[in-house]
Symmetry: C2
Subunit: 165 residues, 2 copies
């Protein structure tokens, strides 16, 4: 995740690692941001269509971000230690088609991944290119529980050292 | 937000209230889920393109959810106290076109709203209809900082008391 725009290929896949959603974390997030019965307690969840305690969809999204940033920071440290240039990434302008496909229940372990699906150079911002990706969260049963399409600005490789600021 | 599918009209607008993003809350969320420099400290943010401490995009989304749920729960309590039927809402299957349009800086107050843009009865699930809406977050300067398109399942009004379970 430290590659310059030119070095990113469609199909490139990043495994972002996995995360086990504990009941305590699910409840803590829910009390703060999404206090619905099926996120707050096992007893209340049992009376809903979910039947069991499950994570807020926004919690799943925030955990994706946690793993994405951890991976990027680890890659940046490794590249820096190896003396390699690290491409800057711009902020995400947003994403599309976010889907909460199945509940994430307490105790579930979700593995997140990011696969590059497209790239586009930007005439208006010649230092940057846009990378498109699909992101997935898959639980311990192999079921996809979460997906969305993201885009991010990635720095272009300078044409020659003379062009660097 | 307690209306049955039949009673929801395109153009219906809900003001979800506003929220002031404190520096302490921005940092707390960031340490847990999005530890990038511009979310973690004023000093580190000053060295980035954002220049100032600003909230994680997922934090903004989670706060939208907090206000949405608070509004729905308040409406449900009021309707129940008034002896009115309350339509059930199903879980959200996801959303589209999420945009973080401008940074949410520490101290900014963002007002969130939800406007109905479409509705569709479901042949496959005759008890439910799908409501489409556009959601916005607007800061104290009148700038839209956050938007997304949501959909939610809303219970249909039973045709007659005899049809109720």
């Amino acid at each position: 995740m430290t590659a310059f725009f030119e070095d990113v290929s469609i199909g490139d896949r990043l495994d972002l690692g996995s995360y086990t959603f504990s009941a305590a974390e699910i409840k803590r997030f829910a009390r703060k941001f999404d206090p619905q019965a099926f996120h707050l307690s096992e007893e209340a969840a049992a009376k809903t269509h979910f039947k069991r305690l499950c994570a807020s969809g926004w919690h799943t999204g925030a955990v994706y971000m946690k793993l994405f940033i951890a991976r990027r920071q680890a890659d940046e440290r490794a590249a820096t230690e190896a003396g390699q240039d690290v491409a800057r990434q711009g902020p995400s302008p947003g994403f599309e088609d976010l889907k909460w496909l199945k509940p994430v229940y307490a105790g579930d372990t979700v593995a997140f991944s990011n696969v590059v699906t497209g790239k586009r150079a930007l005439k208006s911002r010649p230092e940057w290119g846009l990378i498109f990706a699909e992101n997935h969260g898959i639980n311990q049963h192999g079921d996809t529980v979460f997906s969305f399409k993201s885009k991010v600005l990635v720095e272009r490789r300078p044409a020659s050292p003379g062009l660097r600021a």
